[in-house]
Amino acid sequence: MDIFDMTATQLSAAIRAGETTAVEATEAVLAQIEKEDKKYNCYVTVDRDGARAQAQAVQAKIEAGELVGELAGVPVAVKDNICTEGLLTTCSSRILHNFVPAYTAEAVKNLQKAGAVILGKTNMDEFAMGSTTETSAYGPTKNPVNPEHVPGGSSGGSAAAVAAGECIYAIGSDTGGSIRQPASYCGVVGLKPTYGTISRYGLIAYGSSLDQIGPLTKDVKDCAAVLTALASHDTKDSTSVFRDDTDFTAALTEDVKGMRIGIPNDYLGEGLDDEVRTAVLRAADVLKSRGAVVERFDLSLVEYAIPAYYTIAAAEASSNLERFDGIKYGYRTEAYAGLHNMYKKSRSEGFGEEVKRRIMLGSFVLSSGYYDAYYLKALKVKALIKKAFDVAFSKYDLILGPVAPTTAPKLGESLADPIQMYLGDIYTIAVNLAGLPGISVPCGQDSRGLPIGLQLIADCFQEKKLFRAAYTYEQREKKF
C-alpha cells in the first residue's frame, strides 16, 4: 500500500514500529501533492520546507520515545481559516492575501503536541461562506472523485485533499455543514463536534455561536483519534467547554444493540434525490440488522432552520468581519480620500461577492428598526429548534438522515441562485443552531459514481454514540 493511501492510525503505527518514518511519509504525501494538486487545487499554500523540518523533529521525538500517540508522525492539512504562526492564512480571501499570523490556533497546537506534521493550508469558500469552494479568491477546488464536480464546501479543500491522498487527514470548520457536506461529496468521514469541544482560539470567526473546528478523515477510527487530540478546554476561548470524556477512541465498538435511532420524516421529503434516499435508508437497515431500534418520526420546524440560520450567521458575520479595515493587517486599497473612504474601498475591493452579500444582510438585520423583527425573531426560532431536538433526544439516542439532498453538483451550477444553494444546507444547518455533534460517513455512490453521505446526529456531548454507530456501520460495510 502506498503511504498516501494509509489511514492516520495505520501510518502512525507503521512509523512507531520503525517500518517507515515521519520523513518518508511526509515526502510521499508532498510527492502526491506535486502530482495531483494542479488538477484539484486543494491547497492555497503548501509548506514544503516547513513540513520537512517538522517531520525530522517529530521523527527524532518518536525515536526518543517522547511521542507515542496514535497520530505521531502523520502529515495533516489545515483549513486556511485556522491560524498558523509564520504560515500564510488567507481565508481564501483577497483581503487576507498577505496575512501571516503571529500565533497558532489552539486546535493546531493540540495536533502538534500529538506529533502532527502540518503540510499546508487548504482551499475553502471565502471566509467559509459557501457550499462549493467556488467562492475562493484562489480558484475553485475540484472533486477528486470526478473533477467536473465541486468538492462541496466550505471545507472543500480539506475534504478533497483527504480523498486525493494529498494529506493523511485534515481539519476544517463547520458553521452550517461545512465539514459534513464536503466529506459527503468527497466520500470521506467528517465530524462537527458539540459546540465548545474544540477551542476556537485562532479560528478566524464567521458565525461565532455556530463555528466549530473538526476532523476530516479516511475512516471512523481516524476521526475518533483526531477528535481525541483536538478536544481541550481552553481559557482563551470563553465558549470552550470542560469535558472529561474525550477519549473518543474508546467508543469504537461494534455494538448498537438496543440503540434507539430516529429518522425524521422531514429529512426524507421533497427535494431529496431518490438515490440518496435509497442509500441512506439502506444504511439504516444495516444498523437495524445489528440490533438498533430504527423508527421514523416527525422532528418538526426543519423548514425554519435555514432562514433562522442565515439571519444569525449573517448578523454575526457582519460584526466579526468589521475587523478587516485595511489598518492592522491584510489588503489596503491604493488610492483613497480620508479614513472612511479607505475603509470602504479596502473592504469593497478585498471581499468577494458572497461575503459582501452576507455582510449587507447581516448589517440590515442588526440595524435599528429591524433588529427585533429579524435578528431577535431568529434567536427565538433557534430556541424552538433546540427544543424540538430536546424532545427527539428524549426518545432517541441518534437521529439518522442524509447529509445533503443530492450528490456533488457540477462546477458552475450553484452560485447563480444563492437561495437555491442555501437550501442544500437543510439537513446540516439545524445541528449548528442547536450546538449538536454530527458525523458524515460514506454510504455508497449514485449511478454516476459520486459519493453519498450518511449523517448521524447525537445530543450534546454524545459523540461516543456517534462513533459507536458510525464504526459499527463502517465495519459491517467493509465485510461485504
Binding site: 496575512f99 465548545g196 425554519y304 489598518i327 483613497y336 459582501k356
Partner: protein
Amino acid sequence: MANIITDETIEYVGILAKLELSAEEKEQAKADMGRMLDYIDKLGELDTTDVEPMSHVFPVENVFREDVVTNGDERERLLSNAPQEKDGMFVVPRTFDCC
C-alpha cells in the same frame, strides 16, 4: 416580492457595513436582499410569544483569570502584517478634518 429595498436603504446599509458598492452591485444587492428577506419572513409563521431568544446553546459566563501577562513582546511580528507602519506604529489616514 414583498420586501422592496429602496436606494436609501441600500445606501444606509452600505454605511453600516462600510462597503462601497458600484451602481451595478447596488441593484444586485437590492434584489438579493429583497429575495432573502422574503424568504426570512417565513419565520413570521411561528408564534414566538413568550419564547426567550437563545444566543448561545449553553449558558455563557465571563471567564476570569489572574491579571498576569503571559505573552511576550509581539510588536514587531504584529506590525509586520500592517499595510503601513512607521516607528513601531500603524499608519492611518487623517482621521479628523480640521481648520
